[in-house]
Subunit: 883 residues, 2 copies
């Protein structure tokens, strides 16, 4: 039997979203529910996939099924394609599995040609009807010409404008039947002139070309970008819905509109929407005429309004979710053209979920599953005022590195940021890239913009940690001294710009922002999440301040404390530099002794803030050159500060230069070369833990984490140093203290040999940033340049530094989990890469049975929700698709 | 039952090398053969391992077994430990599984104390005997004091010198019994003063301390360095041989010597060696007196000589290999103290092997197995004259990056090298590091010295390819303008230096070299290897010249043609730079069109030279910045050459800068961004193949290799471009041509997903250089700095860039083989990393069933031999240990 590629609406149902797309499945479902839906059929997503497999060709089998479905629809509607007396006219719309509003193409009024137009007019004596028919015809030529025949849409608009000028008319509605007939003629001439072909008159030909055009629109640039933003796989393809036309533009007893079953901005339980009398759907969207609020329909056509309100109630009850619907009224008869779960703001999503649970419509598990975890971001960070945003045009686009909205005055140096901040100004720090040296400036900046660096660059990681808005890797930003160029304009120090860290867009001037607002609904909701999840959520925090923030967000401990960040503030960096410049062991130990009290104090405060929650402390990781200055003037200044000659400092900087520092002298390799660093850090950790646990009612169990292991013997070497120092201090203290020593798994070799590594490591924490770098051979600081080409060519659909690559990197993670458990049964497993805050990656971690994920403080709620969703799904819950 | 840790010689045999060490096993074997061997016992390597496991402590069980073995030896020899009347005296010597001459400690004359000395003298009226006893006593105190009690050996020597000065005597032999007695007293006083303890008089205590000292000497620095050089695992441990003393220094009827059963320098079948009358073994080694050639013994003690010659014949026949022996004559009685397979020069090894096959002593398989494949290097490259080398003191030490010896005048710039070479001078190119830009200078240099870069740095890889001597990564070399500083001296441009690329040593001045010499024996030998092996050996060659060299060395095709090396000569680099600077696709294509004829011509000549042997052509791999200048003056010059402004060129250089270029925009990532590069390269390959195959009697099947795949879709994207271009050219030509498209597996992700990758790749070639970098997270250009610390701490015992890491990187290779075969049954598999020329790695490749290994031309014979050895061993042959 031939494969079925085309389904009549009455053959489908709401569960067939994969095959029929969201729109098609919901149309079929509404038909099943007996709701008023114009009949038609859906060409399936499988047909789209086949179309591309066959080299962009619709095969004969599919064409035959389309023809048969047209015939069946003719039968149901009692009309006929191309019949001048009783013509069937069709709307052709895309409909992917996930909604991609406006991304693909639509063609209305298909089936019209000169003969049909003449026949229709002949069969109806209403003079307004002739106008309506010509209006539909010109719309059809305009849409089909633009979409299928690729005539410039702008050229059609120009013709309309020219005609109105000639006729001295301003509004489209002033154009009468004769005017529109003239428009049709001019449109046809434009098509002929541009394409060399006549506008096709055969409805079958029109339909085939339109289906083909919709399939092709799956592949257009804007669809591709949208998919990438929303993590929609290219392989899904789109379905095509072919539906009998109904006419909101028939007369003044007709109209069209869109509505939501609840307010999508606030979540309030009121019917929300707008409509236009005597219009087709595109008019509402296009915004040429101002639509009326849906409440007005109650006055204009009370019986239609009531029917619509009843239908909405039926639909919301049926789908158990807020609905987003399109409808058309033709001669006071209501038709439903679409329904889907409505997109909503984060605040609305939260309110609707909590309300629906209270109403008893859904369970808490259902409420959790239908919430897009990433959307929580919007509740936790300031956002631009939607009106301001709509009015603004971006001047550039970078990576959406850390969410939130920010506006402030441009500064280019970290120390300037600090000075201006102290003077009460709000600043945006603009840098080629950031380095640990900039930390103080980053800390006070409202937003950060960098020209280089990807989603896991220093700027991105640190900004996310701080909850500061950041746009990274905007290559178009050309910094020259105290100004930068972008989009053809120059912005000087002190100029205002605005950044949207959630979209990566950059704006000139000051855009109004709305502050983050956490309501009581949020707390109830997160409590449900905590009850549902089984995996712990920790945070990446490097300071007592971050620790406190993260605990407020629900962190259950610290999964990654990057101790190097403790070496940058104030005098610490000076001691660190002395350590690096030390000529011998003695001098190095003296410099380290200066650092000890700082580090110990930080640990003490963090242990106190944690009140017994665990803390994983990663020992010094970055290459030492990161602590030394790069620029001539800084070198001169710093040489003086630490008491070495400029030449000595330059020699040291040169000797520490590496071709590929990411794979250089860093991580535990530093501890192998300079065991005294590990000794100092161990002393700080253990002293702090002893001090805090002495008077505390809770137990302190430090987890010391050795970074960058690639070989068991290397880990053992460093662990032996740690254990020796720790045990001596504990013995001398007379207190008892448990501590653990584990490692990061971030080098492929450590994952491959995890069974061996586990004999030394008491826990593993997956450093999936570095693991991704090494597994792909992608430098995260450089990959931005060529990843763009990878998206364009559709080789990649998402950034592996944002979304964990489950097939490659994930294979290593899984292998390391299995081997690690074999090497040390019950070994504690966690993840502390940036993926720890990405919902799909969190789910992967849950399925591998990790004990915890760790992410930046502001992503803790997201991880908590994602972990809950993973647990519910693993137990059989089904994720709800929005829109 | 207790574990047996100690074996009497009569309890062991020659097969027990692992347990008893080489020396112990051979002593036991000689005892079994009935040869005259002083009795004793061996403390096993297991005891050594246990000693370290127990925290450097010899446990009671082992001590008891030692005591019992002493008792058994007393029984056999009829003497007693510590008995003044009939004392048993012992020699304690190390004996690892593989010989490590002079690396560990030895103690002779153990068992002496004041009482025993007195008893011995009392029991012998010969006045010379008293002198002998005191001489033995002072030697014992000196050795034991130095080795076990850690008294400075220099202090003992000073005391001897002082005494001789006091006595106005110059030769040790002039010291009489009284003098030596005085020496004993002074030695004891030194021990007491230095250590605070008396010299131990209890023989049991002496023995235990000596065994312990030998175990500890396994861990000393020089032993560690030696093991690393000779790839001897630390885990093996050493055995300790405790043997009854016999005395070559008893009187003039006594003596001691060493001999080889054939000449170890030439391989000639004559007894070769030397001896000293009235001496202990250490005197021969120490070189204080000049020994006599062994032939003289025939005149001095004909009957002893004859017995020795007979013994040698028996031993060589028994071991079927040239023997290296130590013997002692005590009162005209011969004792064998050691025999082992003798170390020999490469030339000797070849001659002995071929002679022994001719004699019918060994099979060709045995001949192949006993040849150390790495030793072939010495036959293929010039070496320093051994006498000159012995007399010279190195001024520095780098990595032994490319074998051979070279001396010449120092130059610092590639173009200077070329000028001086053209003027008839011999030059050594000294660079901080080399870049592709230096290729012409490297090509004419006799040797290359770099301050930076590891075993797979650019300098090392290119030099090995050219067969040019290279010492890389000598961090002590400080280059300043036209001179460099090393070991406290300054060497200017034009000064002579000498490099030993086989040891990494650097010498001042001109050291005499001997040219490489390939004899007829070599050809016979390599023919046996070719008959024995099943795996093919290809070469890495980038030019027609290298191709011809490699074919002479027996290469069966090219496994890696690095096409980027074709872009550096003369005008080519100019076109390449134009391509990089191109503003748009058209300009880029124009520049590529200039490159096409060069590349096509190279391929044509190489296909011709190969005469149907396969060639794997790797498409452009390095990041583009490598083709642009770095230094100000070059930038100015080149900007003019290619017709862009200096600013434009600088901007491009800045925009191509990467933080970690090894993981940056390179490999097929370039082809994704610039498909036109792959198109040009495909055109060049296919045109050349068509041109050559048109008139040839052989078939040309180009293997196009896409580098750096990490994702199947990315490979497919580039492959589609290649196939499209290739098929069009072939179709247009009217000829038929087969070609393959495959990929390098050098990124961990490609190995992890090899089943998928194999659906697109028609062959895999393992790029184990990059795979090692990514799997370890080691930048090969930077790792040199910290790898030293890894050797010192014994975390690593070999350089993973030289010897394939079988457990980690090898795991990925194995996984990729298995998955690759699952994805494409029968897929062709090869290796083209530098490991392809390393014998142990070649063996690993054979065992994985790879179709071929590919290595630099000069390593082709080594790979052929290693592949033969792997095949023979896999079929049950046993590798013979030398020395």
């Amino acid at each position: 039997m031939a494969h079925k590629y085309v389904y009549l609406f009455k053959e489908g149902d709401g569960t067939m979203r994969e095959l029929l797309g969201g729109k098609g499945a919901n149309l079929a479902e509404m038909v099943r529910m007996g709701l008023p839906v114009p009949q038609g059929f859906t060409v399936s997503t499988e047909a789209c996939t086949k179309f591309y497999e066959d080299g962009e060709k619709i095969n004969d089998e599919i064409l035959a099924q389309i023809d048969a479905s047209v015939a069946a629809t003719e039968q149901i509607e009692g009309k006929k394609f191309g019949d001048p007396k009783n013509p069937l006219l069709m709307a052709v719309r895309s409909g992917a599995r996930a909604s991609m509003p406006g991304m693909m193409d639509t063609i209305l009024n298909l089936g019209l040609n000169d003969e049909v137009v003449a026949g229709m007019i002949a069969g109806n004596s209403d003079p307004a009807f002739e106008r309506f028919v010509y209006d539909s015809y010109r719309r059809f030529i305009q849409m089909f010409g633009g979409v299928v025949m690729e005539v410039s849409k702008h050229d059609f608009e120009t013709i309309i404008d020219d005609l109105k000028t000639e006729l001295k008319k301003t509004d489209d509605l002033e154009l009468n039947a004769a005017d529109l007939k003239e428009l049709v003629a001019r449109f046809k001439a434009l098509v002929k002139k541009t394409t060399g072909s006549d506008f096709p008159s055969n409805p079958v030909e029109q339909l085939r070309a339109s289906v083909r055009a919709v399939f092709l629109s799956w592949n257009n640039e804007r669809a591709h970008i949208y998919r990438r933003m929303h993590e929609i796989p290219y392989s899904w393809g789109t379905a095509v819905n072919v539906q009998t036309m109904v006419y909101g533009n028939l007369n003044d007893n007709s109209g069209t509109g869109v509505a939501f079953s609840r307010d999508p901005a606030t979540g309030e339980n009121v019917l929300y929407g707008e409509y236009l009398i005597n219009a087709q759907g595109e008019d509402v969207v296009a915004g040429i005429r101002t639509p009326n609020p849906i409440s007005q329909l109650q006055k204009e056509m009370p019986e239609v309004y009531q029917q619509f309100a009843d239908t909405v109630a039926i639909l919301e009850k049926h789908y158990k979710d807020m609905q987003d619907m399109e409808f058309t009224i033709e001669n006071r008869k209501l038709y439903m053209l679409q329904t889907r779960n409505g997109k909503r703001t984060a605040a609305a999503a939260l309110k609707i979920a909590v309300d629906q649970v209270a109403e008893g419509t859904i369970t808490t598990d259902e409420a959790l599953l239908r919430f897009d975890a990433n959307q929580l971001d919007a509740l936790l960070h300031p956002q631009f005022d939607p009106a301001a945003l709509k009015a603004a045009t971006p001047i550039g686009q970078g990576l959406a590195a850390s969410p939130g909205a920010a506006c402030g005055q441009v500064v280019f140096e970290a120390h300037t940021a600090k000075q201006w901040f102290d003077a009460g100004k709000t600043v945006i720090l603009v840098r080629l890239e950031t380095s640990p040296d900039d930390i103080e400036g980053m800390n006070v900046a409202k937003g950060i913009l960098t020209a280089r660096g990807g989603m896991t660059s220093h700027a991105a990681v640190v900004a996310r940690g701080m909850g500061t808005c950041c746009v990274s890797g905007c290559g178009d930003v050309k910094i020259k001294g105290n100004s930068f160029e972008l989009g053809g304009n120059v912005y000087n120090e002190g100029d205002f710009i605005s950044l949207d860290g959630s979209t990566g867009k950059i704006y000139a001037g000051e855009l109004a922002t709305t502050e983050a607002e956490i309501t009581g609904d949020f707390d109830s909701f997160m409590k449900w999440a905590d009850a549902a999840r089984t995996m712990k959520v920790r945070t990446n925090a490097d300071s007592p301040k971050d620790t406190k923030t993260a605990i407020q967000f629900g962190a259950e401990g610290i999964g990654l404390c990057r101790t190097e960040h403790m070496f940058f503030e104030g005098d610490r960096i000076k001691s660190m530099r002395k350590m690096i410049m030390a000529k011998d062991l003695e001098a190095r130990k003296a410099a380290l002794a200066e650092l000890l009290p700082y580090q110990q104090q930080d640990f003490t405060e963090m242990f106190e803030a944690l009140e017994g929650k665990p803390m994983t402390i990663r020992f010094l990781d970055p290459p030492l050159h990161e602590f030394l200055p790069q620029e001539e003037k800084d070198i001169v200044e710093i040489a003086g500060e630490i008491g070495v000659s400029v030449e000595q400092l330059k020699e040291k900087i040169a000797s520490l230069h590496e071709f590929n520092p990411m794979m250089g002298h860093r991580g535990l390799r530093l501890a192998v070369s300079y065991p005294e660093i590990a000794e100092m850090q161990t002393t700080a950790v253990i002293n702090a833990a002893l001090a805090v646990s002495k008077n505390a009612s809770f137990e302190v169990v430090p987890e010391i984490m050795i970074p960058l292991t690639c070989e068991t013997k290397e880990l053992k070497y460093v662990k032996d140093i740690v254990v020796k120092v720790a045990d001596a201090i504990i013995a001398a203290s007379g207190q008892s203290l448990k501590y653990m020593v584990g490692t990061m798994i971030e080098i492929p070799r450590a994952a491959l040999l995890a069974n061996e590594v586990a004999t030394e490591a008491e826990f593993f924490s997956f450093g999936t940033n570095d693991l991704t770098q090494m597994t792909y051979g992608f430098s995260r600081d450089d990959a931005g340049v060529f990843l763009e080409d990878y998206y364009t060519t559709k080789i990649f659909e998402s950034d592996p530094f944002v979304r964990l690559d489950q097939s490659g990197v994930g294979q290593l993670v899984q292998m390391a989990c299995e081997k690690g458990r074999a090497g040390r049964p019950g070994i504690k497993l966690g993840i502390c890469g940036e993926h720890g805050g990405d919902p799909s990656s969190v789910k992967f971690c849950h399925n591998l049975g990790l004990d915890y994920v760790s992410c930046s403080p502001f992503r803790v709620p997201i991880a908590r929700l994602a972990a809950a969703q993973a647990a519910i799904e693993a137990a059989g819950g089904e994720k709800v698709v929005h829109g």
